[in-house]
Symmetry: C2
Subunit: 134 residues, 2 copies
DNA sequence: CTTGACTCTGGACCTGGGTCCATACTGCAG
DNA sequence: CTGCAGTATGGACCCAGGTCCAGAGTCAAG
């Protein structure tokens, strides 16, 4: 069984050493054991767990969410895992919708702006100063 | 001419008093004048400016961006205003694309998860623990 | 004049997710 | 054995955009 120091672990997972310690403070990842000296030692399980954390973050989960997912995956509670994923999906769809709204407003303003001439004729400035509705 | 105290100004713009003072510290909005006592007094121009700030924030501009827009609007530089708006649009489109990517990954996983049964058969957990690609 | 609401200042604190630092100790190669 | 890279700890600091607080002063209605 491979056993890794914090530096190797961090490198393999593509994160910083401080990040690993931060996750530990945050209750997400503990070393398998410690040497007499206090040096942290990690095994395969910890490396997998760290990969899990990274992947989940890449999917838009917060560390808080991930703490929950890790607990669930230990409970092997598939139904709840699916529910959590579904509510995260809803969350992400709402964020997209909000950005779409903003995108559309900006797009309209830009399309209507000639890009030269008097400030009074710039719909972007007018919208921002409240002369017209966005 | 109406002249407003900080409380009235904040109320009319729908922000907190502390926010107004924060914007002042941040160089976005100064009172038109001050009383002998030091009390801030705002006129119509400041109210409009505060509305501008809020609208711009709602369109996804940072306070930093807004400082720039305010400077431009004072210079009446329409071409540059349009360019700033365009680059903000690109920025927002990138954020949307990133979220779309996440949404799609999550959607695929959820669709493939039966919602019951063994943890080994849950694609969400498998994806997170690295048994399969997302 | 009193009272209560409002405002002043400077600074601390908050969220999330880290990152950096000083100082001291440890592990390993040569 | 020496030297240097790696690691330990606790705490400060970073970003943005506020929010809250204490203690003191002020304004306006009654």
């Amino acid at each position: 069984m491979t056993t890794l120091g914090i530096g190797q672990l961090a490198k393999r997972a593509g994160v910083g050493i401080d990040t690993v310690r931060y996750y530990e403070r945050d209750g997400l990842l503990s070393p398998a054991t410690r040497l007499e000296s206090g040096y942290r030692r990690y095994g395969d399980a910890e490396l997998k767990r760290l990969h899990f954390i990274r992947r989940a973050k890449a999917l838009g989960f917060s560390l808080e969410d991930i703490r929950g997912l890790l607990a669930l995956s230990e409970e092997r509670d598939v139904a709840t895992v699916k529910q959590v994923a579904e509510s995260k999906l809803v969350d992400i769809e709402q964020r997209i919708a909000e950005l779409e709204r903003i995108r559309s407003g900006l797009h309209t303003l830009i399309a209507a702006c000639p890009g030269h001439g008097r400030a009074e004729d710039c719909p972007i400035l007018n919208a921002l100063t409240g002369q017209e509705r966005v």
